[in-house]
């Protein structure tokens, strides 16, 4: 098992803020919009240096999406930012009509996704956003795994023509990817090559998958771990190549098991190469208040849950 170490823990939303800071200096067409959550989205550095390219929208997410769509008419690259719940479910029709169907170059940047938002509870913990966004034709859906990858993804999507949903979160987690990485949309990242089971993980679950890989190794199981940071377009080739070798799969995501990464992978497997697949995901339920660690434990989204899923997948393969 390849060794991953870290010297610090950071939140992925700060990676987004750092990416925006860079974009503010590099790309004069980038405009940031926010619906009264500037501190939560870590936009202070961008705003300080580019006050004319920041648009405070107030608590009016629907209008923010529409204004963003309009800004693209005139060549701007709007980054519309708020919590994931308000960036997707609350404004689904605005995204559908004014952004996706109209093929507008809007970047919807969503923080505080999933259970790890924590104490605010289920009203704010969206677990359906990946599903909603990936169903929109033409939408690119990205869920990076740590601070550095989120920063790199933020910078990369400015150069991608077309609507993008970028999902990140609130908790501080290990920073284990390279600081100077180049983010390639739609290209899965091989975290660890293995032979016994393929673990496809996204977002905060990638670090959990690495820890699971180490536990499995201690038990003599050689896990392949792949970071699917881009849910759409999905790197089908990487998935099929991996399961051709391992013969079984685990998907891990901080999302409802319905409609997320797991279902996207399942579709590829059903169509091309049927192998056993186990889901590590929220089992069609809402979240609740608690610390991020407590919630991930209660809803079955930890390294130990990935280990158990990997063993089930291997057992089914060998049955």
């Amino acid at each position: 098992m390849k060794k991953y170490t870290f010297t610090e823990k950071k939140d992925t939303r700060s990676g987004f803020g750092a990416g925006m800071h860079v974009l503010g200096q590099q790309n004069p067409n980038v405009v940031a919009l926010c619906a009264d959550l500037v501190g939560s989205l870590k936009l202070e550095a961008f705003i300080k240096e580019n006050p004319d390219r920041f648009v405070q929208c107030g608590i009016s997410e629907a209008n923010m999406i529409g204004v963003s769509a309009g800004l693209t008419i005139g060549g701007k690259i709007p980054f519309a930012t708020t919590f994931a719940n308000f960036a997707t479910g609350r404004v689904y029709d605005q995204i559908r009509q004014s952004v996706a169907y109209s093929n507008k170059n809007v970047k919807i940047c969503a923080s505080h996704a999933g259970l790890t938002l924590g104490e605010d509870g289920a009203t704010h913990q969206i677990l359906e956003d990946l599903g909603m966004m990936k169903m929109l034709p033409g939408m690119t859906v990205i869920n990076p795994c740590d601070y550095n990858q989120t920063k790199a993804a933020t910078i990369a999507i400015a150069d991608h023509e077309g609507p993008v949903y970028l999902r990140f979160g609130r908790p501080v987690i290990p920073v284990f990817t390279d600081a100077d990485q180049v983010f390639e949309i739609g290209k899965a990242w091989m975290v660890n090559e293995g032979t016994d089971v393929s673990i496809f993980a996204t977002g905060h679950m990638v670090w959990e998958a690495i820890q699971a890989g180490e536990q499995l190794e201690a038990e003599g199981i050689n896990a392949e771990i792949i970071n699917i940071h881009t849910i759409k377009p999905l790197d089908e080739e990487a998935i099929l190549k991996s399961v051709s070798k391992t013969g079984c799969a685990v998907t891990a995501e901080e999302h409802n098991r319905l409609g997320g990464l797991g279902d996207s992978v399942a579709q590829v497997l059903v169509k091309n190469k049927l192998v056993p697949q186990e889901y590590v995901a929220v089992n069609d339920s809402f979240g609740e208040s608690g610390t991020p660690a407590q919630l991930m434990e209660k809803y079955g989204l930890t390294a130990k849950d990935i280990v158990a899923a990997a063993k089930r997948a291997i057992e089914r393969k060998n049955a």
Binding site: S60, N63, A69, I73, G74, Q94, Q97
Partner: protein, 285 residues
């Protein structure tokens, strides 16, 4: 363009509207007929549009030209006809309205790359937000042209409209002229009965808009004058709202003033009766 010439264009546009809706037995003639003066006055008199050899040159960004957004997208027939006669696309294409494989979708879209359209509309309440964004982009680009947007009065019941209504004065979007088609009708009946909008002028004034009214929205001279009046007030820190009183179905006597023709197509006899009231001036498609 002289008022008399604009009226001739309007007559042809009205013929196109009833023929398009009849041709596919689907669509919204009432609001389209009522807004004919507004769109003709905008495109043939008011708006500066990039042209080459007398024809519009369409590009999505629209830098250096005035932009129009139709928020109440269901009145697409009037927009399609005006765009076609302006020269954005061949007028024969109007025959494909609402039919399979057409660029003239039921509601306007950019998906089929129809020249003149910059965003999909029809899911009500979204157009003004987009127009505000386009107006902000013009300011960032130091482009001094104007952005226009038309909404329906029933559409004022959508919450997003009021998010946008708060936003534009706060951000001093003073290169924007919004218009509301006050025809007093919506699908389920008179707006007063379905959901009373109360005094829209006072509402927008309270939100920080400069509000003017065109009492006779189907009088071409009044519409042209009102648009110039609105334009003269731009650039002073406030967006402009024009309340335009129109008659749903105006120009076809049996369609006038009733919500019943909001979304109903005429049959053959009704088409003949309607065309009998509308002079063919620029040639039917």
């Amino acid at each position: 363009m002289e008022i008399e010439q604009l009226e001739k264009v309007a007559s042809q546009v009205r013929r196109d509207i009833v023929r398009m809706v009849h041709g596919c037995q689907s669509g919204h003639p009432g609001g389209s007929l009522g807004c004919t003066e507004i769109l003709v006055a905008l495109y043939f008199e008011q708006m500066k549009i990039k042209e080459e050899n007398g024809k519009p040159v369409f590009d999505m960004n629209g830098e250096g030209e005035d932009l129009f957004f139709l928020s109440n997208g269901h009145i697409s027939p009037v927009w399609y006809s005006v765009l076609a006669h302006k020269g954005y696309f061949p007028k024969e294409e109007m025959a494909t309205f609402r039919k399979l494989n057409s660029r003239l979708q039921g509601h306007p879209t950019t998906h089929e790359h129809l020249e003149g359209i910059r965003i999909a509309s029809g899911s009500l309440g979204q157009g003004m937000s987009a127009a505000i964004g386009a107006a902000l982009a013009k300011k960032l680009n130091k482009d001094t042209r104007t952005v226009f947007v038309l909404m329906g009065d029933g559409e004022q019941q959508e919450g997003q409209v009021w998010e946008a209504a708060s936003f534009a004065p706060h951000h001093e979007v003073d290169n924007l002229i919004a218009m509301i088609d006050l025809n007093g009708q919506q699908i389920d009946g008179p707006t007063l009965k379905v959901m009373n909008n109360r005094d829209l002028g006072k509402k927008y004034e309270a939100f920080g808009w400069e509000v003017i009214t065109i009492e006779e929205g189907n009088d071409m001279a009044a519409v042209v004058k009102g648009l110039y009046e609105a334009k003269s007030r731009l650039g002073h820190g406030r967006p402009i709202m024009i309340l335009v009183h129109t008659g749903m179905g105006f120009g076809v006597d049996f369609m006038m003033g009733s919500h019943k023709w909001h979304g109903v197509a005429p049959n053959d006899e009704q088409l003949a009766a309607a065309l009998g009231q509308l002079e063919e001036t620029l040639g039917d498609y």
